[in-house]
Amino acid sequence: MTSATDTPRLAAATSGFALAAAITVLFNTALAWAKDAYAPLNDFMKSIAGHHWTTHGLADLFLFAALGLFFTKSKSVETISASRLTGILIAAVVTASLGLVLWFAFV
């Protein structure tokens, strides 16, 4: 008989891309703050893909894919427990989301 705790570990790809997602959503908010506060960065991003939003999205996708593949191959995330990784992801998403809302509402 198997129980829910028999295999508590996550596959390398799951762990790697979960941590990549946590980092990417925080990067996304930091980049949104930076380009809103510093117009030359916004202009530079516009010059890359024609619109700052397009470049922003491509940067997020690239970072998510690159970090996810790196963490999966290096297996460096395996030292982080699965429940801790889930906690990190939830905290990152809540922080990133509130960071966006508060920035655009009050800054």
Binding site: A4, D6, L10, V25, T54, A82, L89, S97, V101, F104
Partner: protein, 161 residues
């Protein structure tokens, strides 16, 4: 009847977003009752979430870049400039969070959720976050739409005087 490309792209964006949220909710419900028999359904729903959110990303991005600028100018001159300054600015960046989580979901759903409690917890968390952020983005879209609507009404009222 006059349906423009802008209308089609905008409604496709919102439609894909709603379907993505529903697919994530489907993953959530199935994962709460994870067993070997519904593993394939969970993976299908997770993939549907990613595909729908990718559709919402592409359609929303195309509309935002090509059709939003005149609407933005209208909103900023209207009674609800915060519909752009707060809601659109937040929405256009919060959507990336939903999109990244939607891409993560099919990867996490490949785990054996019926026997791996940690993986199930991760999938449940990711699916719930997609639903919450996705609905927030949908709600922001409604506020932006209303901001444009009342700006047009104010413009019409001014023209009638």
């Amino acid at each position: 009847m006059n349906i423009s490309t802008s209308d089609v792209v905008l409604l496709a964006h919102a439609g894909f977003g709603v379907m993505g949220c529903l697919a994530a909710l489907w993953v959530l419900v199935e994962a709460l009752n994870a067993r070997p028999g519904n593993a394939a359904r969970i993976r299908t729903a997770a993939l549907a979430t990613a595909v729908c959110m990718a559709g919402a990303w592409i359609c929303g991005g195309y509309w935002y870049v090509h059709f939003y600028p005149p609407e933005k100018a209208l909103i900023l001159k209207g009674p609800w400039p915060f519909a752009h300054n707060v809601f659109m600015e937040t929405k256009e960046h919060l959507f990336f969070v939903t999109g990244i989580l939607a891409l993560l979901l099919p990867i996490a759903a490949r785990e054996k959720l019926d026997s791996n409690a940690a993986a199930r917890k991760l999938v449940l968390s990711v699916a719930a976050l997609i639903v919450i952020t996705g609905l927030a983005v949908e709600g922001a879209g409604a506020v932006i739409n209303h901001g444009a609507k009342i700006a047009l009404a104010a413009q019409d009222a001014k023209g009638a005087r």
